[in-house]
Amino acid sequence: MGDGEVAEARPVRIDELCFEQHGLSVETSRASDRLEVRLSGVAEMAIRDRLTRYLASLHEQAGAAGASQVVMDLSKLEFMNAACLRSFVSWIQRLLELPRGEQYDICFRSDGQVPWQRRSMNALRCFATDLITVETEI
C-alpha cells in the first residue's frame, strides 16, 4: 500500500441481521462506519412483516453504531412487491424524522439490466433526495 492510501475496513457479518425466509435472503455486514446489506431472491407478501421488522432493527443498529451510510444492494433481487416497497418507505420515513445530525445516508444498488429495479429505486430516491443515492451496475 502506498502513501496516502487508506485500507478498506474488512466487512464483519452481523449475524442477528441476517436471515433467509420465504425466498428472501438478507445479509448484513459492517465495514467501518458503513452498514452493507445484500438482498437476494424475492420480496413478496409472505415476507413483508419480517422485512418491516428487519428494517426497523437495521435502523436501530445504524443509530447505535453511529453509521454514516447504509448501502442497500438490491441488484440480486428478482422482484419486490408494493407491500415490501412500503416497508422501505417506512424505514426512510423513520430516518427523515431523526434530527439531521443523527441521520445517515442510504445508497441503493441496482442492476441496470433489471428495469423494475431502476424504476422502483428512482421512486424511493425521490422520497428523500437529500439522503438517498442510487448506484446502478451496468
Binding site: 407478501m45 426512510i92 439490466q113 428495469p115 422520497f127
Partner: protein
C-alpha cells in the same frame, strides 16, 4: 387456456389462468407471464413493466377474493397495423367494502393526472399504515406506466391494465 393466432389482426395471443387463492402461486404466474411477453415483445422494459403489473393486480385479486377464486387473462392485441397493446385483466368476487375502496382509489387516481406525483403522495401518506394502501395500483400506473380501469358486475370486480408495446 392458451391461444395463439398470429394472423388475427385484433388478438395476437392470449393466456388465461384460473386458480384458487394461493399467495405462492402469484410468483409462478408472474414468471409465466414474463416468459409469455418476452416471446412477444422486443424490449425487456415492456416485459418487466407488464410482469410488475401482473404481480400487483394478481396480489390484490388473491388477497381480496371473497370466494377463493381468482382469474387472470393476459393478452397481446393488435388494434391497428402499426401498434400493439399488452393487456392484463383480473377477476375476483369482492366484498362491498373492497369494491368501495377500489372505487375510491380510482376516483383519487382520476383526479391526480400525474401518476408519479400521486404515487409519491400515496407513499408518504401510507408510510406507516398497516393493511391495504392502494400503493400496488398506484405503482402499476406510475412505474409500469399502464392505464388502469375497473368494472363491477354482480359482485365480481374486474381490474384491467394496458400499455402499448413493440412485438417481435
Amino acid at each position: 387456456m392458451l391461444g395463439v393466432n398470429l394472423s388475427d389482426n385484433e388478438k395476437v395471443a392470449y393466456v388465461e389462468v384460473s386458480f384458487r387463492p394461493n399467495v405462492e402461486l402469484i410468483s409462478v404466474v408472474r414468471r409465466f407471464v414474463s416468459d409469455f411477453y418476452a416471446r412477444m415483445f422486443k424490449d425487456a422494459d415492456a416485459t418487466s413493466r407488464v410482469a410488475l403489473a401482473t404481480h400487483e393486480l394478481l396480489e390484490n385479486a388473491v388477497r381480496y377474493s371473497d370466494d377463493g377464486e381468482t382469474r387472470i387473462r393476459v393478452e397481446v392485441l393488435n388494434p391497428d397495423p402499426k401498434s400493439q397493446v399488452a393487456a392484463i385483466r383480473t377477476w375476483n368476487l369482492a366484498t362491498p367494502d373492497h369494491v368501495a375502496a377500489v372505487k375510491s382509489l380510482f376516483q383519487e387516481m382520476t383526479s391526480n393526472t400525474d401518476p408519479f406525483h400521486h404515487y409519491q403522495a400515496l407513499m408518504r401518506r401510507t408510510a406507516k399504515v398497516v393493511g391495504g394502501s392502494g400503493l400496488g395500483l398506484a405503482r402499476v400506473r406510475a412505474e409500469a406506466e399502464m392505464e388502469l380501469t375497473y368494472e363491477v358486475h354482480d359482485g365480481v370486480l374486474s381490474v384491467a391494465a394496458k400499455t402499448r408495446a413493440e412485438v417481435i
